[in-house]
Symmetry: C2
Subunit: 215 residues, 2 copies
DNA sequence: TTCCCTTGGAGAGTGCCACTATCTAACCAT
DNA sequence: ATGGTTAGATAGTGGCACTCTCCAAGGGAA
């Protein structure tokens, strides 16, 4: 199919598709002539993924490009592909080591992680991961505001996260081909984030009504 | 204290504080003369909250303004304050009713909510809430990509969300004054989001290593 | 009192990001 | 041949979160 049809079938404006092609988010179509290219259903699927990552997952275009590049890097084993892809998602920077709130946050988080028996991998130390830095930044902000975020308060959230992770991996393991597993892992990691957060807000409204509203 | 000291103590640039004052995110200081104003620790605390919402919670400035305005609207009862504040957070728009994926998503989500016994409030119907719309949008995107997101697959996530909501409300109930409770509810809702998502990613890495890496 | 530095306030400007519009040369159908 | 598409490149747009520049009014030191 040509670009116009790709646009129509995906609901993405032609100019936007051209932009994604330029940015390398979408592989170039098969060139038929100097001014014509052919796109197949793989392009369509990829385009839908790109749109979902950017619009639903709020992933910046540049990060999405890195994520997708990792999925196609055949020089990496699948575990590394996933690691590189997830690491490309937006994360907080390294905190200021002089900030006392940041130090306290690190202590709480490290105690939490140790208490759960989460191991730092040798090749990919958890302590340097983007998720760890983002967690530190959030806990630091909570501490700075005076809100509770000690190891004890974080523990139930970590327990819930562990449960969710088991469910995530169960979904990923439904796929047989490793390449499909990696793509599914990325897509489910990113696209289930708004699902989780929305469900939490709905559950909060529910629980709040249960506790505070007496009919 | 004057603006310069407020800036120093909060780590926020003076020009940025002026911008927040202009935008109404921060109440004006107590005017001493025509060219001087005094700020107190309440301003400092508010400024820290604003920064945390914007930088850690990724809340847009305009939305943060609405959220904070709701916290100070004394014409509302506290339950409504919280409702208005949470509703001001960024959410997906109403989906296209003609899209078959969106219809399927709505069916899955409604079945899920019904199955859990979550009740639509009469004054604030859940079906029109921003969280519900965001959930629909995310599930629609998953369906469009062909990833599993039926009621059965969503159920474990909803169960985890319910657990988290109980923990959230426990934290909120530590505060005695209703005004404090409302502010805490908003701050904890927004600022625990990156905490939850980071913990999920760390737990995923853990679970993934447990399943796929045999030493 | 005079000089000068700082402050609060207002408007314009900046940089980044995600597109989007315009242009051009090539191509295909008629 | 010719009118409408198409791919690709370049420049422009709009939104957002600041950030810079300017100004008149204080206030402190000499």
């Amino acid at each position: 199919m040509r670009l116009a049809e790709l646009s129509e079938r995906s609901g993405v404006a032609p100019a936007t598709i051209k932009y994604y092609l330029r940015e390398g988010l979408l592989p170039p179509g098969h060139r038929v002539t100097a001014t014509q290219a052919d796109y197949d259903t793989a392009h369509l699927q990829r385009l839908k993924l790109v749109r979902a990552l950017i619009q639903v997952g709020r992933v910046p275009v540049a990060a999405a490009k890195e994520v997708l590049a990792a999925l196609e890097d055949d020089s990496l084993d699948h575990h590394s592909q996933l690691g590189v892809a997830v690491e490309a998602l937006p994360n907080a920077p390294e905190p200021d080591p002089a900030d006392p709130h940041a130090r306290a946050a690190r202590a709480s988080v490290d105690a939490l992680v140790d208490g759960l028996g989460w191991q730092y991998g040798s090749s990919d130390p958890q302590g340097s991961s983007g998720a760890y830095r983002t967690l530190l930044a959030a806990v630091t902000a909570l501490a700075r505001l005076g809100y509770p975020c000690s190891t004890e308060e974080l523990a139930p959230y970590a327990a819930a996260a562990a449960q969710v992770a088991v469910t995530d991996l169960d979904l990923v393991e439904r796929y047989d081909a490793p390449a499909e597993q990696v793509e599914a892992a990325v897509a489910l990691t990113v696209l289930y984030e708004p699902v989780l957060l929305s469900l939490r807000r709905l559950a909060q409204a529910q629980e709040s009504a249960r506790r505070f509203v007496r009919p």
